[in-house]
Symmetry: C2
Subunit: 206 residues, 2 copies
């Protein structure tokens, strides 16, 4: 199982954003939506072994966490507007009571009232990693698949309190390359590294 | 200089698609728009050493090629709707005469009336590669940066005539991993590989 937890410091936790002006009206939720695509979708299919968490720290209803489980989710489309509509409806659903964990609002789609703690409490025994620039190279980190969880920041990086919380749970810092990239691209590079570890050695033999 | 040429077999070459229903109304131009983001944009910036070509083979005005030059382009935003609007306006501009090559319609943004040939004629001395599943691994392909051009298919892969044309110019087949991915994710993996080759060896030393 692979888990991606993307933390949006300004991304809205309420569904009242405009589909026609997503970046401005949603506090850059668009960045997190693109992470849903890159974590869950492959060519003509859905990654069934992935769970994506969007930690939404912006707007009056924050913090909330949206969880999309590839094993149960249906009708996840790659285009940003469709993803925005999916999330808009999920966030508009009756919110669960705080402290009660995740409430499923559609198959594979769940919302929790709470912040990063909710996501962390949901990880089970997954080995946590945190994406940091100039940290040790993911390619050399010795990750061999299994149950992993990757924490990824947004356009602002991580808030100090988040960084401290991730250190507390022992999240291991890794990086994906020499250039500072969009969050969804970081997810692509992690997925590829895990795909390579899990593939048969002859994957590229014709 | 890095060049990415993404070939959309159904992607519309005319600007009359709907921003509210991009995948259906544009012949999956959305796939190619996402390649613009992933090829040209990094965290808080634009890759100045990248040129992206969208080969549009769908609709009544096809084929046409849209070229975006990172060295001159301005105001490239990451969200799909903004990219769609940019391309819609470029395609609505007065088309150049066929056979006359690229006509700049905005700084860094140019359109040619013609197909894959127009893109190929524009590559100069770049070394061509074609992305094919199960081809030799990009990581082992010995690419050391310089002037490169990567041809990438869409949700349908490549048409036989395209594959033949790319073989004719000696495009070297490479692959990025064991899983069949979206075109924009393929671009991310190529860019990362080139970034790594071009970076100082100590890029990840704190």
């Amino acid at each position: 199982m692979r888990r991606f937890i993307v933390i949006g410091q300004t991304a809205t936790a309420s569904g009242d954003f405009s589909l026609d002006d997503l970046p401005s009206s949603s506090g850059r939720l668009d960045i997190l939506l693109r992470c849903l695509r890159s974590s869950l979708l492959i060519s003509h299919g859905l990654r069934r072994d992935v769970v994506a968490y969007l930690v939404l720290e912006g707007g009056p209803l924050a913090p909330r966490v949206l969880r999309v489980d590839g094993a149960a989710a249906k009708f996840i489309r790659p285009d940003e507007r469709a993803l925005a509509l999916l999330v808009k409806r999920a966030l508009a659903a009756e919110p669960p009571l705080a402290g009660r964990g995740f409430l499923e609002v559609k198959p594979g789609l769940a919302v929790a009232n709470g912040g990063l703690d909710c996501a962390v409490a949901d990880l089970g025994g997954a080995t946590p990693y945190v994406l940091e620039e100039r940290a040790p190279d993911l390619r050399a980190a010795g990750i061999r698949g299994g149950d992993t969880a990757f924490f990824i920041g947004d356009q602002l990086g991580f808030a100090p309190a988040t960084r401290a919380a991730l250190a507390d749970i022992g999240a291991c810092p890794v990086s994906v390359g020499p250039v500072s990239l969009h969050s969804d691209d970081v997810v692509v590079l992690i997925s590829n590294e895990l795909d390579r570890h899990e593939a048969d050695p002859g994957w590229n033999a014709e």
